[in-house]
């Protein structure tokens, strides 16, 4: 009786999982399929291409525009992620561990930033960056990315830091560590899964951004891939670059997948087990 219910429950859940996965994956697979089609068969409505071609991929890598944008994207996202995670880790550690004046204010303000509609900041930022000479530069994008990624980083990281037993830090201090050594050699390694999770989230946020990238750039100098994609044109006015856009879309999801796969192995849950109690 009991096993029957569990098998049925498993089936039901399995079915539900399949529906969700299919729902999420079909558009992605569709784009991948389009990217391999020739211009002639592009609109034939077949899910599996009748004629396979790498022409679209060749086209996008031949245009300097796309390669340049890819470099910009990777560079800007990596730098913004690194800075946001380091700053976020320090802030989160302080929030999790210390009782300093203004702590609630800090947490409140960072929440406020996270909730602030970014669209309303775009025009002022545009003016500011033009005045400061940051417009259409890497720092011009890195700065707003850090600003909006930090609340996210602080929130996720402080949750991770709170899970680390405080006794470990005390033990490190008794063993002769300074505050800095205790953080670097004991706390940070234990917070590593949290750091990687945060890094992934922040990286995806920066990588996917379109709004800031389109407003705060004007040339190839700092234009990122999502924006470059929107500037794709065909060889003539009447040619639709659907195939090329699809190929580019596939290409720009690859770094994200690699990034997640690479860090996922480091997100080992239960890393703190064995630290305290028996």
């Amino acid at each position: 009786m009991a096993t029957e219910t569990t098998t049925r429950a498993k089936l039901r859940w399995g079915l539900l999982d399949v529906i969700v996965v299919v729902f999420a994956l079909i558009p992605v697979l569709w784009i991948a399929s389009l990217s391999f089609k020739t211009p002639a068969t592009l609109t034939d409505g077949k899910f599996v291409p009748r004629e396979w071609t790498l022409h679209n991929y060749r086209t996008i890598f031949e245009t300097d525009q796309f390669v340049r944008a890819l470099v910009n994207s990777i560079g800007i996202a990596l730098i913004a992620t690194a800075i946001a995670v380091v700053l976020g880790a320090m802030a989160a550690y302080a929030i999790a561990r210390l009782d300093f004046p203004g702590k609630r204010l800090l947490v409140g303000v960072s929440l406020l930033i996270a909730m602030f509609p970014q669209v309303s900041l775009v025009s002022p930022l545009f003016e500011i960056e033009r005045q400061l000479g940051l417009f259409d530069t890497w720092p011009g994008l890195i700065l707003p990315y850090i600003t909006f990624a930090l609340p996210l980083a602080i929130y996720t990281l402080s949750a991770f830091f709170k899970q680390i037993p405080w006794d470990l830090e005390k033990a490190a201090k008794m063993d002769g560590a300074t505050q800095g050594q205790a953080f670097r050699r004991v706390i940070a390694p234990l917070a590593a899964p949290g750091l990687f999770t945060t890094a992934i989230l922040v990286f995806i946020f920066c990588w996917n951004d379109f709004l800031f990238a389109i407003t705060l750039t004007s040339t190839e100098q700092a234009r990122t891939v999502p924006v470059a994609l929107s500037f794709f044109t065909g060889e003539s006015q009447f040619e639709d670059p659907t195939g090329a856009i699809c190929a580019a879309a596939v290409v720009i999801t690859i770094p994200i997948i690699l990034f997640v796969l690479f860090f996922q192995r480091r997100i080992v849950s239960g890393l703190t087990s064995g630290a305290v109690k028996g």
């Binding site: 037993p165 006794d167 470990l168 005390k170 033990a171 490190a172 201090k173 008794m174 063993d175 002769g176 560590a177 300074t178 050594q181 050699r185 004991v186 390694p189 234990l190 239960g270 890393l271 703190t272 087990s273 064995g274 630290a275 305290v276 109690k277 028996g278």
Partner: protein, 405 residues
């Protein structure tokens, strides 16, 4: 090199920002190589005191000296003391070897010295086979030993131990108790050990410090605390099963108790004649100072008195028998007793009337349900003032019973 590592607490207090006083004017001198136990119910300030010695808590007022040097404002790392935590606090990302090497690495010792010191400590604690495991793959007792290993490996001036055995199961705890004791004797390092378990306190320490509400109640060797408790709290805290307490009314030069009228000697009488002397007292008798009246010889009989009471439960321990007898009359009541009951988790489990725990000889033919004649030793009883808990039978630090002249 001889390191003198006496620890002196001079009127040390801890006040938290919200105004609560966790530790109040603690005076304590721990001499070099001594094993001192801080014991008391939860919230008595023993852990806070330990943390202040460690440097993990600031000292609000007073002075702390280690090896003659004032260390109030020194960081933990500059005090050269090691600590063992209740939670073990092993670094889970490091192996046993790395855990134990951590304090040495921080001292920037060279690799060879570190290795040899770790190996040596591992041998002492029988951890050699486990050196390359992670803490997650160790049992509770093994983790405990690693935590101790991390403390001893750098040969600090003193060890601080914060309830190191309380996470172990009962059997392992007894075993580890001897490990701790042997280790301390072997190393001869000054040790301050915090526990809430009075058995640990009695068996481990050279001296025991009993704390209550942030204040030191009594400091002394375990036997001294047991035989000559300064007040009601100490008397009730030390000993298992604990001392029996009965209400006693002073009347016509005698004490009227549930066990009958207890005669008093001149010394107690003089105490009670003072103007502000209490009219009501609390009578304390340890379980082993009772005996089956049948088994008491004439000479011993004269030193005590007898009463009859129904026997409720007999627990035969082999070597002797714990006999629970019921007596009529008022229960002894005092703030200290309530606190002790609360700490034992028995605050709401007191029943009516009084119950005495007596420890009788194994030869006693006592049976449950019968009414038995029981003798108790008047020279060993204690009388307490319920208002302040003071032991009235104590003279110059010695308890002399009720009959002393």
């Amino acid at each position: 090199m001889i390191v003198v590592a006496d620890i002196v607490l001079d009127k040390v207090s801890k006040r938290f920002p919200d105004g609560t006083v966790a530790v109040r004017d603690v005076d304590l001198e721990i001499s070099d190589g001594e094993f001192v136990i801080l014991v008391g119910p939860s919230g008595c300030g023993k852990s806070t005191t330990l943390n202040m010695i460690a440097g993990l808590e600031d000292i609000s007022s007073g002075e702390l000296r280690i090896g003659g040097e004032r260390v109030n404002d020194k960081a933990p790392r500059d005090r050269d003391i090691a600590m063992v935590f209740q939670s073990y606090a092993l670094y889970p990302n490091m192996t046993v070897r790395e855990n134990m090497a951590f304090p040495l690495r921080l001292q920037k010792l060279d690799r060879k010295t570190v290795d040899s010191k770790v190996e040596e400590a591992a041998k002492v604690l029988e951890l050699t086979a486990l050196l390359d495991r992670k803490p997650a793959n160790l049992s509770g007792g093994q983790r405990q030993r690693v935590a101790m290993g991390r403390a001893i490996v750098r040969q600090p001036k003193a060890f601080l131990m914060d309830e190191p055995l309380s996470n172990l199961d009962a059997k392992l705890r007894v075993q580890m108790r001897t490990v701790v004791s042997r280790l301390q004797k072997r190393l001869g390092t000054t040790t301050v050990y915090v526990t809430h378990d009075q058995t640990e306190a009695m068996t481990l320490g050279d001296r025991v410090v009993i704390m209550r509400g942030g204040e030191v109640q009594q400091v002394g060797r375990p036997q001294e605390l047991y035989d000559h408790p300064r007040n009601l709290f100490v008397a009730g805290f030390i000993g298992s099963p604990s001392m029996n307490f009965l209400h006693a009314a002073v009347q016509d030069g005698k004490l009227r108790t549930a066990l009958g009228d207890v005669p008093i000697g001149d010394r107690i009488r003089r105490e009670l004649e003072a103007g502000d002397a209490p009219r009501e007292l609390i009578l304390g008798v340890r379980p082993e100072h009772f005996e089956d009246a049948e088994l008491v010889d004439e000479e011993t009989r004269r030193r005590g008195m007898e009463f009859e009471a129904p026997v409720e439960i007999v627990e035969s321990m082999g070597s002797d028998k714990y006999v629970y007898v019921a007596v009529e009359g008022e229960r002894a009541s005092a703030a200290e007793l309530e606190e002790l009951a609360a700490d034992a988790g028995a605050a709401d489990f007191t029943g009516t009337g009084s119950n005495l725990v007596t420890r009788l000889s194994a030869e006693s033919p006592v049976a449950e349900g019968e009414t038995r004649r029981v003798w108790f030793n008047l020279e060993k009883i204690h009388l307490f003032d319920p208002a302040n808990g003071r032991n009235l039978t104590l003279h110059e630090g010695r308890a002399a019973g009720a009959l002393a002249n």
